[in-house]
Point group: D2
Chain length 368, copies 4
């Protein structure tokens, strides 16, 4: 597999399986001089940690991050930052049973076909624990973005049939409920729905939205490296994502030019502004200075306790029921993963944009 | 801009503006020995050519492709294939007017902010003509894929409010109507809707679906280079795309595990098959051997003759109305662009997958 | 072949064979706002043009460059710059004879083995004409470097047994003689040696040195992207180069620490300087602000009129004698190629270095 | 720094400083199914370990490697292989003194200029310990190459003024002496020379040669990814290397075509062979099936106990004398580093060559 590296300038490489020694990430290209400590990263990891609510697996995963390189006297040195989270709670015996059959909705069979065999313990590399590397690196990217005036905030838009009421959107509320919904009433309703799913040995899907503010206009590269295309790849690379939207997204298909175009006006300070933001902050692949809005649909947790039809490696049909401790929904723990992937993409694109003009390059080197 | 290269092994680099000397693409990494002539490529370009129906601009663009390198005695040599399409019908005066103001829904302002100035003639690099390079390269990728038993087929799913009836889906019909819809009745209805849009100086959006068959299981790389993530980036890099879906896409958010998981069974030949294909042929980022189904939403053509609010480079507000010849809808001409980007992505991923197993690598070199 | 792209930020992709329609290069990542015209590039191409002295082939190659994209109103737009040089003087019949046997010292057989067949006309892609793309792009890189205060100058150090006298080094002289030697006497002596080679149907090798001044300290990236490593790859990628040195180069093997270390002192302006420059301006892979000195050995032209032993594709031994018009030495025409590859490498490394510090990144974005 | 990744398909990313928690490497793209254990890697690390002779520092570095991921049930899984070597013998106080001045011949000052400050403990990232990551990954690459019939062997050619006698070249002898010289007499003489260097508080340079056999013809990519260019970059990226040669290397500059060209003949089995190998196994950037011969010059260890002139960060001149335990020569411990970088480059190029022909690609996928 050579798919474990993401980014061109702020480049990360993740490694690790569900039941190996641990999960890690190497950040190459982090600028020097950034104050960084393990707490900066731990705060993000704690948001994806299981066992925080009854809707996330009760596995005890301490998930403590350790900085192995790249930081000296509290600041990044410009050399690779190696981060590791040891795997502690490993009950391989829980998984021995699935070694021989293919779990529906999982990548088990695809791995066997591609590699000839697989690490069946907890899904190995295809486990959700793989996202630990994304979040650890995303925490560093987000800290740099804050220094540059950019904020990235993701939240739960819907769980199963329960959606938030946009008229009641409350940013403060996001951190108040275990589902990270910006609408207390919807969170309550969604909780009830999840109880029902659990009692029926079933699972639920949901939708996450991410709002990015403070990105200057002109970020992204035309044609193949459009900012929306890279955000799309980043989010679609998260395990359970099946759709990606920007701005009005899928609704533009049934809209018309008069309503979909964002009209330009001047504000009192003499700055250009848009009367609407159907575009979601990006047009022609370049940011326009307005908030960037993206959305992703997450499929229901494939591991369910109900009876399912499957086959074995050797080709026998059988009925299975997944044992073990599994979230009835992926969404709440995925919120910080979406934030992390968005932060990594935006930072990498901003750094890439520094060479777009000869006059700015000249100024940069004259000042050295 | 360093965003004009796509692909890692079958790597393409496009160039050219709407009103420069021409549009071109360099294909680096095309395997040697492939029979290739200009007709192979022209057939694809003709599908995106304007002036084919009254729903596409009446501009006369001959768009003839010329092979400048990489083919000797009718076969690819393994060296870069340089393809060029000369720009013929250039009426710069049509565009001089828009030099000073920013067209709503276009990237005009973002280019000015990013680069300090822009080639305002027909949108320059951000023009839809940029897709000529994608389609020319996509035609070569698609020809290789056919040699490998892979077929890529895109079609129009909806235009404005008019969607096809899946029960009447007819592959033969796709090439029979100017809108490339697999449903004659829907095509007729959509045509009437487009007439209305044009009479109202408005434009329409729509949805394109693409079905890819024959891809072996195990294509794609885990984590960041998932096949669906790369397909997403490829499609989202097409100018007007605002959403990308795979399989059930956005519908998985409101589904549940029991219904969304694809159960495995054995067929009479002793092969594994899936009772359903909610996943759209990819799980865990790897193909599973079933048809790959992707969808994209295209926004309405931003260039409309109706009055719109805009601003000038120097900051004056004004009301504008876009002159010139513009499609009332992007979708029909974008169908072959979607096919091309999908073909480029699938081929590149298949070539990358050749090194996944040591036993296959040994066999390969032993046979040399 | 996917080896036709060079550079990460200022990225070039070359294409074309000796006897195809032409040779070209696409520059992706050129900053916007650079004044650029065809004369800027032609001046460099003219330095590698044949027929300028009796020591270069008398083939008439006009080699006129044409800018096809990326420049608007005399300035680069930030979009890909496509440059083409049409092949004019094509006498394929001159080459038909070599279609069946393998020229010693050439890549003929290696291409046949790798690709299954080859474009035998003038060596196809392995022809020296391939360097036209490097020089055209190098001219643009060099123009940008001059804007940043960086000068790149290459010259001939030796031809066969004739070396320059460093005590008589004269920069002015470089452009005064057809061999680009900074020593008139050595140039005269070398000319006599070349006459002898020609009369004996033989060819000569030689050495080129390149001096790069004005590069700020700290350019290059530690470990694998050391500036000297990238300069080495750039120069070693030129057809006939068999060695690369930096600073004292090969002589350091027999030196000792006391003599090889460059001592630091302070000058009257309070700046650090080095008493010597054995390192050639780079230590630890990073520039130190002193002149960068690199050297390369070029093998003798493999195409000679003398009788040589060879074999045919089908495996018969035969004695051959290369017909046609060939330089008795590669070096003089390669001087500008070395300059171009050095310029491309230095520029790309300087652009990459802009993201090395968080404080500089903050300043950059605050000023937008 | 984003220079810590090497390779395109078999891609490695190294991390770690001299005095951090440890040194590590992540291998992404290792094919699945390769039997791999820590002993395979330890054997290579032991060859670069210090304290093996009196000519290498007496620091006790156990340098035990640990496999953290990517191996399951004794075989590689195709997922990233994370390798770590803990830093044990860390005497930071030894280095505190050099925090304020710049060691001649070291990168201290360049790091300060580039990053604004540096990890001064033992050179931080610029320490020779960085090569642990290269060797650990190189051991894996070499094991794969052996499965493919490729052998990579490096040895010491010269130390200071003492060179081996090629007529007495003895492969068996390489592992018999602490200097890894294939000539016992030369090794004895070189040892005496090193004694002298040490007694004079001085250090020595030297030359390493590497011979690679079993590489099939046609490996490497024309133009910028020539096999010799990538080997050059790989070797020149090793800290103290100041020159790189292939085949006759620097000697070609004074040679002539008649003598430098390698003539082709047929052997009794009807295979093509070359009467000589001046080219060093590569022509036109592609391997020709004969042994690949490369050489590199290593500068003398810059850390010497003699008095040297230097300056402080704040600009005062001072005379220094490097304390601590330092090798009087880098060469012996660098032999395995050269082998490792060569192995990584050859393997990556071989994997890349698998897609050069359409017929081979078709055969590959038909057999799945």
């Amino acid at each position: 597999m050579f798919g474990s590296t993401f980014g061109n300038i702020f480049k990360i490489t993740t490694w690790g399986e569900s039941h190996g020694a641990g999960i890690g990430v190497v950040i190459d290209g982090c600028p020097a001089g950034l104050p960084l400590c393990e707490e900066d990263i731990q705060a993000y990891l704690d948001r994806r940690k299981p066992g925080q609510s009854r809707y996330t697996t009760q596995r005890k995963e301490s998930d403590r991050v350790e900085i192995l390189s790249g930081v000296f006297e509290g600041k990044t040195t410009g050399t690779p930052i190696s981060l590791i989270v040891a795997n502690t709670d490993q009950r391989s015996h829980d998984y021995s049973e699935i070694a021989n059959y293919y779990r529906p909705g999982h990548a088990d069979r695809n791995y066997d076909v591609k590699y000839g065999f697989r690490d069946y313990r907890g899904g190995g590399r295809s486990s959700g624990r793989e996202t630990i590397g994304r979040v650890a690196a995303g925490a560093v990217a987000a800290k740099i973005l804050r220094e540059l005036g950019v904020e990235v905030c993701a939240y739960t838009l819907s769980i199963g049939p329960v959606s938030i009421n946009r008229d009641l959107f409350d940013f403060e509320e996001i951190q108040n409920n275990a589902l990270f919904m910006p609408d207390a009433a919807a969170a309550k309703e969604a909780s009830a729905y999840l109880e029902k799913c659990m009692s029926e040995k079933n699972s639920a899907g949901g939708m996450i939205e991410c709002k990015i503010t403070g990105v200057p206009a002109g970020i992204g590269e035309p044609v193949f490296e459009k900012l929306n295309a890279n955000l799309g790849k980043a989010i679609l690379s998260i395990g359970a994502v099946k759709s990606f939207e920007i701005g009005d997204g899928i609704r533009v298909a049934s809209s018309d030019g008069l309503h979909n175009n964002d009209a330009y006006r001047m504000d009192n300070e003499g700055n250009v502004w848009k009367k609407t933001n159907h575009s979601g902050g990006i047009t022609g692949g370049l940011s326009d200075g307005t908030p960037i809005i993206i959305r992703a649909a997450f499929k229901p947790t494939p591991s369910i306790a109900s009876i399912q039809e499957s086959v074995t490696r050797s080709g026998e049909e059988l009925d299975i029921s997944i044992k073990g401790r599994h979230d009835p929904i992926i969404v709440p723990r995925a919120v910080v993963v979406v934030e992390s992937m968005a932060a990594l993409t935006i930072l990498d694109s901003m750094l890439a944009s520094m060479t777009s003009r000869i006059d700015r390059i000249k100024t940069f080197f004259e000042k050295l």
